[in-house]
């Protein structure tokens, strides 16, 4: 009752850790078998290795946290040789998240990663709020996002998901633009841009000043955007933003998601993903739902349409 099938991703359950919150899985493998997961979204890869931003890189906020890691990663080549190699021992589908400052970087990284047998889909991170140079236009201007998507699609050998930024006036326009440019799916949402100021120093707590807001605080924004976008596109959505338990997963499906990713909650409870996977069938039974797919978009589909699944 949990298996879902999205472009490139045959998942035995709809739950994957979100990119950047799980590195490449080694640490969490000390707590549970990664084969339990529906998929894994690995940490963003860039063409070259990056050190990221100075520290402090995280701060707590009411119901959430800010991060400004800044895409630290060993570069695409090392990710292929070290991390994807290590991941070969598992069967879980891999979503490879990629980022860059220029179109060429994305294309290079996408081409190399999509050739790897271990990579089942790409996730274009066009929305990382923590990178200085360029970048912002990719996440906020529909035409720019569409062009990038199209270029990546020409080189990619696997389906391409575009990860949308919530920091935009019109999320539906962004979604439609990348859909038309050939995106196979959407991931949403990335973090909201936020800041905290330390009263002791009078300065921003994060060395990078601004950071990405994640966690339960942003869940209503994520639900709203998925609710809107899922009614306007025909490609599946991997939903994320503040998921903490099985009820949250169900709320994302009701809003219109076809799978979910879990970020911040992994820090609060390293066992949260397998726990949620185990909770889900129980909750579905209580709700008299035969398959989690039956819940997809039920919040906006008319009774007529949903009746068929009862």
């Amino acid at each position: 009752m949990l298996n879902v099938s999205l472009p490139g991703l045959n998942m035995k359950n709809p739950v994957m850790p979100a990119s950047g919150c799980f590195a490449f899985g080694r640490e969490f493998n000390q707590f549970y078998d990664l084969n339990e997961l529906g998929a894994i979204a690995i940490k963003a890869a860039t063409k070259e290795a990056r050190y990221g931003n100075p520290t402090p890189r995280v701060a707590e906020t009411p119901g959430g946290m800010l991060n400004a890691i800044g895409l630290q990663n060993p570069g695409v080549d090392k990710i292929i040789s070290d991390e994807l190699e290590w991941l070969k021992q598992f069967e879980t589908p891999i979503v490879a998240n990629i980022a860059g400052s220029q179109t060429e970087d994305y294309v290079y990284t996408a081409e190399h990663l999509s050739k790897q047998s271990r990579v089942n889909a790409l996730e274009l991170n066009i929305s990382c709020p923590n990178v200085k140079e360029g970048g912002i236009a990719f996440g906020t201007i529909p035409e720019v996002a569409a062009e990038l998507t199209a270029k990546v699609k020409t080189v990619s050998e696997v389906p391409v998901y575009v990860k949308l930024s919530p920091n935009v006036s019109d999320i539906v326009a962004m979604a439609k633009a990348v859909e038309q440019a050939g995106a196979d799916g959407l991931s949403m949402i990335n973090t909201l841009l936020g800041m905290r100021i330390d009263l002791k120093t009078g300065k921003p707590i994060l060395a990078n000043k601004m950071g990405g807001l994640s966690g339960p605080a942003i869940k209503p924004v994520a639900i709203r955007m998925i609710y809107e976008v899922s009614q306007h596109v025909n490609i599946p959505i991997i939903g994320m933003g503040g998921i903490e338990n099985a009820d949250d997963v169900i709320e994302f499906f009701l809003a219109g998601a076809s799978a979910v990713a879990i970020g911040t909650a992994n820090f609060v409870d390293p066992l949260c993903c397998p726990k949620i996977i185990r909770e889900l069938p129980k909750r579905l039974k209580e709700m008299n739902v035969n398959h989690i797919n039956d819940l997809k978009g039920r919040s906006w589909r008319s009774c007529q349409e949903t009746l068929s699944s009862h």
């Binding site: 919150c21 590195a23 119901g63 339960p216």
Partner: protein, 260 residues
């Protein structure tokens, strides 16, 4: 490394805003070395969401009891101070790599330098050194008298100097003033405390082996989120950085650039 629901068996104030917490559970038996830490879930998921990293101050493996000392300062540690005897605390640990003591020989002399809430991990370190027959001298720095803690406990283990910035107790000034004044003969130095203290030690006392325990704001505390990194001093290092949570928190002086 495990997640354990540990039972609070004591949580008392022992100095101004300073609490001594004793918890019981299987996790205690897994502590590998002094200087390791735990990541404590103090709140629900919404309020005080992130766990709080706190050093292990002492362990009784037989009774499965672990001691931590912390300052109730911000939102999370204040909540921690409200846990009562008998309540459950969800603790992730033991985490990180602590102070190396294998290579220190019996009969040698170690200096342990602590500042403020950097003092606690030195206690278990000192006990372990004593067991090995290493002689330990403790130099403990505090802001002022009413936040001094564990002076007697350290004295029971070896010579102990206390400094306070305002001179209200012990030597007036910093831990480095005691070091300068006494010019101890020693073989190895271990330190935990505020960065300015660690920097002063790195500058003045790197000739002999010196180990520094660092703090960084943390997300996961298990090495996955990259919140807690420090750059290596060696620009040729293959990774170029270390994670305080899983590579540290203890580093040999010279390994990483101290955060500011």
């Amino acid at each position: 490394m495990m997640i354990d629901k540990m039972i609070v068996i004591q949580n008392n104030q022992i100095a101004k805003d300073i609490f001594e917490l004793k918890v019981k559970g299987a996790l205690a038996a897994h502590v590998r070395e002094p200087g390791q830490f735990v990541h404590i879930k103090v709140g629900g998921f919404i309020d005080a969401m992130l766990r709080r990293p706190i050093s292990i101050c002492d362990v009784d493996k037989q009774d499965q009891v672990m001691t931590m000392i912390y300052r109730a300062d911000g939102n999370g540690t204040k909540r921690l101070s409200q846990y009562a005897e008998g309540e459950e605390l969800e603790i992730l640990g033991p985490l990180g790599n602590g102070f190396p003591i294998e290579t220190v020989k019996a009969g040698s002399h170690a200096i342990l330098v602590g500042g403020g809430v950097g003092v606690p991990p030195l206690y278990y370190l000192s006990k372990q050194l004593k067991e090995k027959g290493v002689q330990a001298t403790h130099i403990l720095g505090f802001q002022t008298e009413n936040i001094v803690f564990y002076e007697k406990e350290f004295k029971d283990l070896g010579p102990t100097y206390v400094t306070t910035v305002d001179g209200s107790k012990g030597t007036k000034g910093f831990v480095t003033d005691v070091l300068t004044e006494h010019d101890f003969a020693y073989d190895v130095m271990y330190a935990c405390g505020p960065v300015p203290m660690l920097k002063a030690l790195e500058t003045g006392y790197s000739a002999k082996p010196l180990y520094l325990s660092l703090e960084q704001r943390m997300g996961c505390a298990i090495g996955a989120c990259l919140a807690c990194v420090c750059k290596t001093q060696d620009p040729q290092d293959s990774r170029g950085y270390r994670k305080v949570c899983s590579d540290g928190p203890v580093f040999k002086a010279g390994e990483v650039i101290l955060p500011c």
